[in-house]
Symmetry: C2
């Protein structure tokens, strides 16, 4: 059987992408210069430049960096896990950036250090760039207690998840108290983010009345809190209605294993109203789940989840990357869809082909 | 790499299970006597005895029967797919058996032939027995238009799903117009059943007011209809309330790909009230989804789903059945849970071990 080929070294050098290529070379040269130990020492002494460079090593798809990345992570692990990890999602237009700005500044005013990471596998714009998310959170990015890092993007969700999870470890080792993972409301992102945070917050807006239907299947179920943003001016009444309606709907969901009853509240991030209450609510949640041991149990479960998920991904990648399987699969799918073959018998045939293949 | 060992030939012969063993030997002898062709000819001429014996071949975990089972299924496939497949689930106490009796007799009175299959991987009682489910549906089991078959049970859900799916094919080839798959409301059953039926019905009861919270995560979302049973006597008012409440909650779910708006209704199976309306509703659904092509599309998607699901299952079985992996896995899980190793790096190590193993 063939292992998946490593990504080719992506040192491109056409004039079109000249700046990006130059930047990459500088970064890679810098990475080569600094050893894993030096980066770890830097991270542990809260050196932001070392943290950023270490994250770049982790994000690199250059195979030569894998061992260095693993060395960094393993050295950081004993110093990690002391933060509160908060996932924030919401539809486009819910005001996520404004909310995170207000929320982050409030946390900073309480003396906390905040790292903001974003996940967006659908975008290929903001890769490693200092533009993108930072400009969306202009004020927060100037706050000395805050570190904003756009995600590695334009990759598979599995790849982004891995890099984000490992970036969390590095930020924690770097002394950040709160890690905020922001995700755009598309696809399977929310489920992935839910599996790497302690608290999952869904940001909503009230409006035409029908907009709640836009909430994706399953997202309400995994939310620990739903916060209606933009509750200001004419919108206050609508928000109160939407809150009442949502509270009724939440009755239809089974109680959470955490013992926590999902909270429905509102705020106006723009006017800085209701932000302190959100922070207090999350503090309450952390207190509850630490006292009933759910907090640590969930983190251990998440670690195991990512172990098994990664194994499963790799098994599938190897199977579907197999030459003989690739030649057979489309034909088999068609036969099965058209009821010419039982799906189970067809699967058996493919599996036998795979395990007997010379790949 | 080692393939999963076939289940050992389970010809046991201790006095404790003497009757079961004798019965099995008789069945196996009978199976050996009758060829796949003979069984298929019997099925296609609506011979119930041939159908039952063919299903027993499919349910057999004796490796020697696999080729015969595949031959039967492949010969039946061109004659299958003409029925309506209905999944019925509901909590214990919702009156599923009474409902299926009343519903089945109504279908029979319309001149339809009905097969009732049950899925219960948690039970190991009714395996291949003529007791069990049949006695629960005493009257229906005497109806000449009806065939009741308890599922192969006490197995993995994947195994039960496979056998049920293939039993559906055989029943359809045998001329049954409606296939009812009944499942008890536990675990992942509903999701599996949802992936093998055209219409998914959730049977509920109203009552103390809080009982809706007992509806499992996700089950409301996949239901095409929710029918409150036992709407009789003092219960009628409560049912109307529960219906209204549920209708409000359904607003929070996104529209279905089928274009169908999930229906909330009530009946009293015991008094035979509301049963014809349920039948009419399902007929409406079938008409809608056949006219908008969703019906065929969904069946093709289900076939592909089971193909990929089976492949994935087998890949995992092979991995977790590997001796070296078994020796490493628990230790690795612990290290990952205790933050001594990154889940991703640990997964990579296990995957490398697996692909380099001599199994």
């Amino acid at each position: 059987m063939k292992k998946n080929k490593a990504n080719p070294n992506d040192n491109q050098d056409s004039s079109e992408i000249f700046n990006a290529a130059v930047l990459k070379k500088i970064q890679q040269a810098r990475m080569a210069q600094t050893s894993a130990e030096e980066l770890v020492v830097g991270i542990l002494s809260a050196n932001i430049s070392a943290l950023s460079r270490a994250i770049t090593v982790i994000e690199s798809s250059n195979k030569n960096h894998f061992a260095k990345a693993n060395a960094i992570i393993n050295s950081c692990l004993p110093h990690a896990n002391q933060s509160v990890r908060i996932g924030i999602t919401g539809v486009s237009g819910a005001g996520k950036s404004t909310f995170i700005e207000a929320f982050g500044k409030h946390l900073s005013s309480l003396g906390k250090k905040i790292a903001v990471l974003t996940i967006d596998p659908t975008s290929s714009i903001s890769h490693g760039s200092i533009l993108g998310d930072k400009t969306r959170m202009d004020e927060l990015s100037k706050d000395p207690n805050t570190y904003i890092r756009p995600s590695a993007s334009g990759e598979t969700l599995g790849g982004v998840a891995r890099k984000t999870r490992e970036t969390i470890i590095l930020c924690e080792a770097g002394g950040f108290d709160v890690i905020i993972i922001e995700t755009v409301g598309v696809g399977q992102n929310e489920i992935a983010v839910h599996s790497m945070v302690d608290f999952f917050l869904l940001l909503q807006i009230s409006g035409a009345g029908d907009e709640l239907q836009g909430i994706k299947r399953g997202v309400i179920e995994i939310a620990d809190a739903i916060v209606f943003n933009k509750s200001d001016g004419d919108n206050i009444d609508k928000t109160e209605q939407a809150k009442a309606e949502l509270n009724r709907a939440l009755h239809f969901f089974p109680p959470k294993k955490s013992g926590w009853i999902p909270s429905v509240s509102s705020c106006s991030a723009k006017n800085n109203q209701g932000i302190a209450q959100v922070e207090q609510m999350i503090t309450d949640y952390i207190e509850l789940t630490k006292s009933n041991t759910y907090f640590d149990k969930k983190r251990a479960e998440q670690n195991e989840f990512w172990l098994l998920e990664t194994i499963n991904d790799q098994l599938k990648q190897n199977f579907y990357g197999n030459t003989e399987i690739q030649n057979l699969l489309e034909k088999t799918k068609k036969a099965v869809q058209n009821n010419e073959s039982s799906p189970f018998a067809a699967a058996q045939l493919l599996i036998e082909t795979y395990f007997n293949s010379k790949d």
